[in-house]
Amino acid sequence: MVPTSASLFRRQTGSDLAILEAKGLTVGIPTEDGTVHAVRNVSFSIKPGSLFGIAGESGSGKSVLTQAVMGLLPNADIGGEVWFEGRNLIGLSQEEMRRLRGGRIGMIFQDPLSSLHPFYTIGAQIAEVLHAHETISPAEARARVVDMLGKVGIPAPAERFDDYPHQFSGGMRQRVMIAMALILKPALVIADEPTTALDVTVQAQIVALLDTMRRDFGTTVILITHDLGLLSSVADDVMVMYAGHRLEYGRAEDVFRAPAHPYTAGLLRSTPASYRPGTELAPIGGRPPSLLATPAGCVFAPRCTEALPRCSSEPPPLRRYSDGVEALCWLEEGASTVRPTAKTATIAVKAAPPEPVAEIDDVCLTYQVGSFFGPKRALNVLKGVNLTVGRGETIGLVGESGCGKSTLARIVAGLVPATSGRVRVLGRDMGALDARQWREMRREVQLVFQDPFGSLNPRRRVGAIIGDPFRLHGLAKGDERREKVRHLMERVGLNPEHYNRFPAEFSGGQRQRIGIARALALNPALIICDEPVSALDVSIQAQVLNLLRELQRDLGLTYLFISHDLSVVRHVCDRIAVMQGGRIVEMETAERLFADPQHDYTRTLLSASKTLPAFAEAGRRSLVETRVAS
């Protein structure tokens, strides 16, 4: 039985029986630096059969929250109550939790490859779930698994039963995971970033599948994601988390149309998916706070554009509005929903075609693969790519994983030789350089990498990393080099005083700035950005994208910008090349491509990327209740 003290949450959700109800959930994880307050005083209730979205950036505590609910954090100090089917999950014994997990609560993880066992067939792995919870004959289990696999859209399920995880594509693996989570018809499924590791077109399919499944089975779904576009399309209720706090909570439609909390509003403004021509991305300044400290006031206050004097000294009260939206904020009227417009029309129409920096002429790349005994076969990664990058322009290269876009980048950079075809940078053939010329060429082409953690040497100081181009080309020494590095750090928005720090002391966005500073050092003719923002949080993404644009405006840089995300590319690029299977299938100026896509594949990509609803007037909303934080 759910106790009556939870009446407040019932009232607001309009449901009499919540399937999962958390009250004052607090999670602290002890580490060597002190206790990380991953979740603080979070309450929510989930209606049966609904899709509950938890949104937040990395480190917001959204995954920790669900892990705590599932009893997967044995080390943590967990306070508060979580009621599920009349039982408080917090403090339940391991044995009882085990029976609940899988049986009543299913889980779907982010990376389907690492969460499936590579040694067992997928059928055996799903059947194992059945055997663990029910007494059932192998034949019967097989029948049910095959049936389930069919329902999640695996073609020829009876034959694929005996296949291993590596024989499936990423999307198919995620379908297998969904089948595994749903096979026991659990009351609740927790999907932790189920689509993050997948391509855009596959993402859309998986989300649609989750939505269908919850309708067919009546399962309640908790969808944890950083992707607001995704949530706005499927979620019934959403909870926005930041630094362990529940900042906003309410019906998805109301929250996305008129966010009450400045953080939600800021997130929506900084998402490239909400881009409309003529508007500028508005990043949220600063970076998320340390979870070790307990702030005196609102956690978001240091980054908030609408902060009041009291915000940083007193904990904010809980505001409840007439449409059921709750926000933890001092603002009575809710956040302002004004979207900033672009300062000037930055994209000047280029009359004459600019002088080419890089010419890619019918480039092919073929790998010889094959087992030791088996016959060799050729793997065509690039099948004749033609592309010209003019000075001062930004060319976007868009495609799904495996389409060869990163390989093309490495060929243009001269790091990988092409099998056939020619790459000319500044009129010089990259394939015909001797060692000394190749080294000289390094000054002209620079790379910014995707992974801000892997691309900086963890054991070297930031000053040394940014100074590397000078050291390697023997250009500036001693104080002169230090001065140049400090100047570069300032240029990309880093504090030059942090010269002697290690990369680990910086956040993801700052590390990407370090990478950009290093690429800028020798004033190259062409900078190749290989997915420069896909590893970053939304609010940080916008900061880096704006930095790249600003640098281009000021220094006249040329970018080859590679991304899987059309909305990001649209925001920064003049022309976009869409790649599929090692070929460029469509090449058009950014706005024309969006307005009038010619190729089928471009249309598929466009329809798969989500757009957010426009902000609406918040006029019909009024403050109903204010509860001062205890």
Binding site: E32, T35, N75, L292, A293, P295, L415, R439, P469
Partner: protein
């Protein structure tokens, strides 16, 4: 909108950010076994340093034979007492003084051989791992070859050919101990070589030597430190083995292995237990201490290791909410 937004966090919410070195020291200090091991190692180093003073205080040189006071009329060594604290050996020499001088040999050979072996291992491992292909093939097979040679047979053959000496002992020890570490380093380098930061350096125009020394080597600090520490006791035991077999340090220069050999050669240990017990204990404590320290260092340097996590969990929950 207001000045408050840029205000620094209030003092009570400040968080101490510790550097990686400070964290390592903190973790090491929390580990009692490692601290005890460090004390033992320190004591042995002090013993080796003060060996001449020990000789002065007792008034016994390590090679002087005290036939009147150090041996009973029947020629049996005297046990520990006020004159000879750790007793005497079969020639009437002071065991304590010999132990102290033996510590010099053991530490010198142990540390020197371990450092030299690590150097070779790093060079071979990094070269093989970074270049791959034929270079890797040749160096890896060389490593396999060294590991498959029966060391004692080979050592005995070498020593009988060239005659025992300190230099030869060190050379033999180094030759037989670099291979396992080289393999580990090679594996690490292969995984580091594929990291983006190496590609970034390459795209900046860095040559192989620059990448190996500046980019890859600092990332190998942890395995190098741990393996070198673990290699020291191996070298000490190695040296003792050679001396025990009469192939190491030339008598009458004292060494722990040689002392054990003397004790066992004429079954004297049956009547004079201290001849085995004293150098044996010293050898055991030294190797044990270095091994425990190496273990502790590995845990301290790798915060993700299971033992550190367990220790963290066991700590009382100071800030736990009721």
């Amino acid at each position: 909108m207001s000045d408050v937004t840029t205000k620094e966090p209030s003092p009570q919410t400040e968080v101490v950010q510790r550097g990686s070195f400070a964290l390592t020291v903190r973790r090491l200090r929390r580990d009692t076994a490692s601290m005890a091991a460090l004390c033992v190692i320190f004591a042995i180093i002090v013993l080796a340093i003060v060996a001449p003073w020990v000789a002065d205080i007792t008034g016994h040189s390590p090679i002087e034979q005290f036939r009147e006071t150090g041996l009973s009329p029947a020629g049996i060594p005297v046990g520990p007492g006020s004159e000879f604290w750790f007793g005497t050996d079969q020639l009437g020499r002071d065991v304590l003084v010999r132990l102290a001088y033996g510590a010099r040999v053991s530490l010198l050979v142990g540390v020197f051989a371990a450092l030299l072996a690590s150097l070779i291992a790093v060079v071979v491992g990094t070269t093989a791992g970074y270049f791959g292909g034929t270079v890797d093939l040749v160096l890896s097979r060389l490593t396999d070859l060294v590991m498959s040679v029966p060391f004692l047979l080979c050592a005995l053959a070498l020593v009988s050919a060239f005659g025992p000496s300190l230099t030869l002992s060190v050379a033999v020890i180094v030759f037989f101990s670099w291979a396992p570490m080289a393999r580990v380093i090679r594996g690490q380098v292969i995984s580091l070589r594929r990291q983006d930061f190496v590609l970034a350096s390459r795209s900046l125009g860095a040559g192989p030597l620059s990448i190996m020394v500046i980019d890859i080597l600092p990332n190998l600090a942890v395995p190098i430190i741990v393996y070198t520490t673990m290699q020291i006791p191996n070298s000490i035991v190695f040296e003792a083995t050679l001396s025990f077999l009469g192939m190491g340090i030339v008598p009458p220069t004292p060494s722990w292995g040689g002392m054990l050999a003397d004790a066992s050669s004429n079954s004297l240990y049956l009547v004079a237990w201290w001849l085995i017990f004293v150098p044996g204990t010293a050898l055991l404590m030294t190797t044990l201490a270095f091994n425990i320290l190496g273990d502790g260092l590995r845990d301290a340097l790798d915060p993700k290791s299971a033992r550190t996590m367990r220790r963290l969990k066991r700590r009382p929950k100071a800030g736990a909410k009721p």
